[in-house]
Symmetry: C2
Subunit: 889 residues, 2 copies
């Protein structure tokens, strides 16, 4: 019955293991696992996520028993380390870190060196013989604790430090003597007291509980909330708290701290990759304040650096480290991202986790590992987040384009982007909201900048390495990033930066290439990406395992070719209205709309028909042997008319149609709710000659292609059907036109007629629709709009507040609402099959490119999904994952 | 296996009976029934509706066997009548009439005197000794047959007749001699031949089959289609054809023809009521060409007429007639509408059917018959069409109002109306479509005028009696009508009429009172109607049998009082936004909308809150002890702002709000699809202070009423909920405000919190919504819009074509779509009850006043429906009928 709130670990022994991430958080579970593997992990213990959940469910009260369990484990830790918590002579110092089930880098708070006070700092001095070191630890602890736990602004500490530096005439921290640190620490404490009205806590136990509560509290800070929203992490998971004995990478030049990846997280190359700093504490590497050194000699040489690598400067420890991380990669069967510290020549592992990686690296690593036999092809497929494939598929800089490089930094996150320069996260958010592409340019980024980074197309920093905050977060988000572009001098407050003797202002356009680290002036021409072998291997495996076909939404020959190149198995949605907007056609379309009667409409349609026939011919040729689903005219007619008085005057002048008539008809056709108006098949029912003409064009086009030796597979889709009577009439019209065309041409070919299911009523009546519809294609954009009663165009004012307030988990226009809209789809699938067991079922809304929605489509038994051409590979992979996940259940 | 296409009848014997209306049509079934009752029915036979259906399903081919069956029956008829079809010496003449399952008066075509030709007309002369009579019959037959069967315009005959009259110097038909009729007939035949290129058919068999096909064909004429649409009669029922031996009411002064009702169809008084014409054929009465005489002495005296009644002029036949119709009323247990002919002193019954009646008469007849023990109270309730109750509930002329009577006619259909004078059906349709109230003024009406009569508020005719076309149709439609206002001279082509020395022009306003027959100048003040005892009796019986409660949609004290007077059991929908439009409030509302932040909004809301509190107090007081469902603010905020530049300038001037700010905010808030926009609870979630203020007002109002000794039952309804998260948040907000108000006031009271189900997703997720919603009210207006994806505002362009093309059986905004929207309602009911078995369920869309929709609500187990105050009695009756119908199954 008794529940454990605390799990201990020490080298060779642990209460938990790697499978217990939900309870111990990722960090805690992996610390336990590493301990069990007998790797050198500083001893400690983990407070479970359940304790945090309990804390939030009970009005910030700690669960009963927690205090006792912490006391007991602390006593064990004292025994293991042979130190005493608060022992003046031999003080035990600990770190207190958050650790959630999913990694949330930089989102949560950490306190190091806890246990120091005015007395134990003396003990640390005595033990290490280094009063400067001890005092440096103490001042760091005061700063960090005051900021994280007590809520004192870190600028207050920086101001005091700056004043002392001015007084002393020094510029860097390492030039400050122990004596001076003592005075600074005294000022720190005085400031804290004056700000808070009480002394900085001297009792280590008080410090510890303050820190534990602060970690719990950090789960609900704004950055954490935003990160969770962005990464779909549920709010009720809570965070664990890891309390671990301190080791020091800042105890002189045989000490060091660093981070490493067992393979290159940017390229996927299977070389140990990372950075370290001699005589530093862990936070120094991540914060990007000092530029770190390479781990291996090869990496150093590749980068053309001089400072010795860890392999060269600490060869023995490096050898032990290399063995350790190889063990970890083999044990976890995935690339590991580790943190380590060397304390006076002794290695300690502080963390291991599966490494975040770029899409390109993810592909390469998955393929390499599968080929190495470390994982299976199915596992390789499951390792890749389909959403991130996107960045591989978008245009990159045209190598032949002229470019003026204005600065160069580290290639921190691949991809290229152009946009206007902004210097603050707030500006990035504001300009992006207004539809502008922006590049966020910063000295360095911090967790506060997260929203701005998300809003920006790309990120540039002047400082920090490949594992700096900016680099890690940008890679995670799929944003191109160049970090550590030290030649840039950034004057954010003036809204400009200088580089190579030139000044660039807020709003000017730059381009960056996150794969080379180059920053260029203006917008550079982009080209289609060149796909790696790994990409093709993954796609081939995906095709082996997926059951869903992937089609594309395309209406132009260019889009159709792109889609085919990306592996689309046909067109799932060709929107014919897009063919009506061409400049040489719109006049005829308007003539049709302005006609007084059917005869007038037929006359105008006769001009459009040959052009549509040519369009369809091309699409059938490109998609030879594959289905092409053609949706007949859908938008309300007023969309084709000019709307403002100026536009009307202009159109009248250029088209020769009278302005009065144009104005009158535009007014007549205007609608209060065009989304719910005279559109879709309602046009085809009221003006059958419109659909008749389109059908004529498409059947003649199909026969043209057939006669040319091609193999056209038209599927005719009627939009916005709500009743079986509509479907029956439209089916009959379709078959009638087909019969006439086939008779006239003396040829016949197979085709299908069906409907979009995009209204709730269509889903409810699907059994009746299936009487005459041979296929259903779920139009989930409109189905979402009508099921929720939300106009996508007008949802801006409440959709974001709704997501922020937790009413929507996700934007239902991005990821299918499986509970509501999904229920209608399931109903329609069942009803459609009941009437017509071999009915063809697909989906052609935006959701067709969303992995979660694709998994749903697989689950409910659709035959295909159709998405935009660039999303086709994403969808192929997601479909394979859905099939693999379903089989493994 | 062999199917009969023909059913015979003759006095004392019939193949069919009254229960076979579907097969034999109403007329045929009742002719059979009357024959079986041994009443004097001219012998004949009926071709079934199935033959007509077969005809339409088989490309206008007659079913196999029909010709033989008709031949056989014709032979029997010859035997029964001892005449021969085409027998020159003793010719059998027949009438050929349509007869559908439901009565469609004047909609279908009829041919009399069929069997006459150049030879048999001589036989008829010989038999009757009256060549003028025989020739009159023949010329009538030629005219009717040529028009109905051969498609010759009747004006062509009128022109020939007029020429002859001019030539002869006579004005009325009866002054034309036999000799002259011969010449006219010769001209008729010559004209037919020249128009059609062939002779008028002389073979009686050809005549017969031509007529049968014409009756089948008349089922699909425009008038019939329109009538069916108006009365919800399915197109696939078809019509029967009745072929009956002719009897003649025009064989001198012991002959007559007439129509009668066993009780007064206008008032319901239990006096024999009707009209007859001596020496006339049946069509003369209905056509309103001669003004007919009363049946009874009493009626004649009441009307102050001189021409003798039938009771006086044909006393023996009258006595036989009276016994016959009494038998019929007792047999059918309902008021009968009969047609009869007296041929040289011998009575023949040509038709009987349940009589159409005014709402007032329907009430009285049902109540009287129940009290007489002829029917049960349940039957009495089932006898009344709830839809027609409406006309009793609307305002009537204020007896104290000044009025200038400009003409007087017959009180043909009760109710009062004012409107602009129009003289053609086309004008009536056109003006009504533009939103004008019009009164259709005609010499007499004909079936071609049906659309215009429907469009008009009321109808006036200068000619015709109480059973003229105008009178019958107007009563059926519930339109007030004054017929036979002979003092009016109508000059339709000049657009004016004259009466009592004054001229009235097209577009001038008149008022008529269909209960008195008065026509008045200008618009007369109306008052609330005074309800009859019968009305109260029916309502009392309805309340005994119904299970649904009826509430009203009301927000003003006046509406609430009206609703209470009509028997509403509370308010089912109080739309609070209506309280925001008052002139003294709208400025504060706009201030709220224009506020820059929550504080600004709260400041403006504080001004509105006391006014809302007063509104709610009044409603709770009026609805003391009854539930009042208050819907929180629903429309998008831009509805409260001015829209045109002029309006903005005006509002800016009067309100003191800057025009720029107004303009900017109006633009900001404008929406592409406001129906699907930022409205309903989306306002309450994003700006909770709005709902908070409304809740404050309503809970304080409830406590005010409680303190005053009242018994308020507030039910708080949150609109447009789509997710359980919204519902949970809004429930919590409601309970929070209640707690605070109750604590502050030191009082507490019961209330409910719930939601409208008006989005498909709400229905789909009803189980989750019911976790925090204590009631559901189906908002079927919006639910219909979103389920169909049809904006009511924009549906005009396709809704009518859709109904005409048979895609919609009925306008789904008028009568609930039980298949689609109904499926969602059933789903929500089941899901809601699964979570909360005692959940309160109601409906508050426009459908709450529609009988078919109410029957659905009863069936799916709702607790109440809410409708507009005037519809409450309709709904009470419909609810009783639904319960009775359900129990009898």
């Amino acid at each position: 019955m008794s529940k454990h709130w605390v799990y201990a670990f020490k080298a060779g022994q642990a209460d938990g293991d790697a499978s217990m991430k939900a309870l111990l958080g990722g960090k805690g579970a992996n610390l336990a696992e590493m301990s069990s593997l007998n790797l050198p992990v500083p001893a400690g213990f983990t407070i479970t996520t359940e304790a945090c959940v309990h804390y939030y469910q009970n009005n910030s009260e700690l669960p009963a028993g927690l205090v006792d369990e912490v006391e007991t484990n602390l006593a064990h830790l004292e025994k293991t380390t042979a130190k005493g918590f608060g022992d003046v002579a031999n003080p035990l110092l600990v770190s207190v870190r958050s650790g959630a089930r999913a990694s949330m880098p930089g989102m949560m708070d950490t306190v190091l060196n806890l246990g120091l006070n005015d007395a134990t700092v003396e003990g640390l001095t005595a033990l290490t013989g280094d009063s400067r070191f001890a005092l440096d630890c103490y001042r760091r602890f005061i700063t960090m604790y005051s900021n994280v736990v007590l809520g004192v602004n870190h600028h207050s500490f920086e101001d005091i430090l700056d004043d002392h530096k001015d007084r002393l005439g020094v510029t860097i921290d390492t030039d400050i003597t122990a004596k001076d640190w003592e005075r600074i620490i005294a000022d720190y404490k005085a400031m804290v007291k004056s700000e808070l009205g009480r002394d900085f806590p001297q009792d280590p136990k008080d410090q510890l509980w303050g820190a534990i509560r602060a970690v719990f509290g950090s789960w609900m800070n704004d950055r954490a909330k935003f990160y969770r929203k962005m990464h779909d992490i549920p709010e009720d998971w809570g965070t664990a708290v890891n309390i671990q004995s301190m080791v020091f990478g800042n105890m002189g030049n045989t000490s060091a701290t660093g981070v490493a990846f067992t393979r290159n997280p940017s390229t996927g190359d299977s070389d140990l990759y990372g950075e370290f700093l001699l005589n530093a504490q862990g936070e120094d590497v991540v914060a990007g304040i000092r530029t770190p050194q390479a781990l291996t000699k090869k990496a150093r040489e590749d980068m053309g650096e001089r400072s010795l690598s860890m392999e060269e400067s600490l060869p023995e420890v490096f050898a032990q480290f290399k063995t350790t991380v190889d063990t970890l990669e083999n044990h976890y069967r995935d690339v590991q991202d580790v943190e380590f510290t060397v304390e006076q020549g002794k290695l300690y592992m502080l963390q291991t986790r599966n490494a975040k990686r770029t899409s390109k690296a993810a592909l390469k690593i998955a393929v390499d590992m599968a080929k190495e036999g470390l994982i299976t092809p199915q596992e390789a497929l499951m390792r890749i987040d389909p959403g991130t494939l996107d960045q591989l598929l978008h245009p990159m800089l045209d190598p032949k384009a002229d470019k003026t490089v204005i600065a160069k930094g580290l290639p921190a996150s691949p991809g290229a982007a152009s946009g206007k320069i902004v210097f603050t996260a707030e500006d990035a958010v504001r300009y992006a909201a207004a539809g502008e592409d922006v590049i966020l340019v910063r000295d360095e980024t911090s967790p506060e900048d997260i929203k701005g980074m998300y809003a920006a197309k790309a990120i540039v920093t002047a400082r920090g390495g490949m594992t700096s905050h900016a680099a890690v977060v940008a890679r995670g988000m799929g944003r191109p990033c160049v970090s550590g572009a030290g030649e840039m001098q950034i004057y954010a407050e003036r809204g400009e930066f200088a580089s190579r003797g030139q000044t660039y202002r807020h709003g000017e356009i730059i381009t960056l290439d996150g794969s080379t680290g180059e920053i260029m002036k203006g917008a550079i021409r982009m080209i289609e990406p060149d796909f790696s072998e790994d990409f093709h291997q993954i796609m081939a495996w995906a095709d082996d395992y997926k059951r869903l076909d992937i089609r594309a939404n395309a209406e132009t020959p260019a889009d159709a070719r792109t889609a085919l190149g990306f592996g689309a198995k046909g067109i799932g949605l060709c929107r014919t209205e897009h063919m009506f907007f061409d400049e040489d056609r719109i006049t005829a379309v308007r003539e049709m709309i302005l006609a007084d009667d059917e005869a007038g409409r037929r006359k105008a349609l006769a001009k459009i028909e040959p052009m549509q026939r040519k369009d369809f011919t091309e699409l059938f040729q490109i998609m030879d042997g594959l289905p092409v689903t053609i949706r007949l005219l859908d938008p309300p007619l007023h969309e084709f008319l000019p709307h403002t008085e100026e536009d009307i005057a202009h159109v009248a002048e250029t088209s020769g149609i009278g302005a009065d008539k144009l104005y009158k008809r535009t007014k007549e056709l205007s609608e209060t709710n065009p989304m719910l108006g005279w559109r879709g098949c309602r046009l085809g029912i009221t003006f059958p000659e419109i659909y008749e003409s389109q059908l004529n064009a498409l059947f003649n086009a199909a026969v043209d292609v057939l006669e040319g030796g091609g193999d056209p597979h038209p599927e005719i889709m009627h939009p916005l059907v709500a009743t079986q009577e509509e479907m029956a009439k439209l089916s009959a019209l379709t078959h009638d036109v087909a019969k006439i065309v086939f008779a006239a041409r003396g040829k016949t070919l197979a085709y299908k007629v069906g409907t979009m299911i995009e209204l709730p009523r269509a889903a409810l009546m699907a059994n009746r629709l299936a009487e005459t519809a041979e296929f259903f294609s779920f139009g989930t954009n409109d189905l979402t709009q009508t099921t929720f009663g939300i106009s996508r165009d007008d949802s801006g004012r409440f959709l974001n507040p709704y997501i922020e307030k937790g009413i929507f988990e996700k934007d239902p226009f991005v990821s299918l609402d499986q509970d509501g809209v999904g229920a209608l789809i399931e109903m329609a699938v069942a009803k459609g099959k009941a009437t017509r067991p071999d009915i063809k079922l697909g989906l052609c809304g935006e959701h067709g490119g969303d992995p979660a929605s694709i998994a749903f489509c697989h689950k409910v038994g659709l035959a295909y999904v159709s998405c935009s051409p660039y999303r086709v590979p994403v969808a192929r992979l997601a479909a394979a994952q859905a099939a693999i996940a379903a089989n493994s259940q």
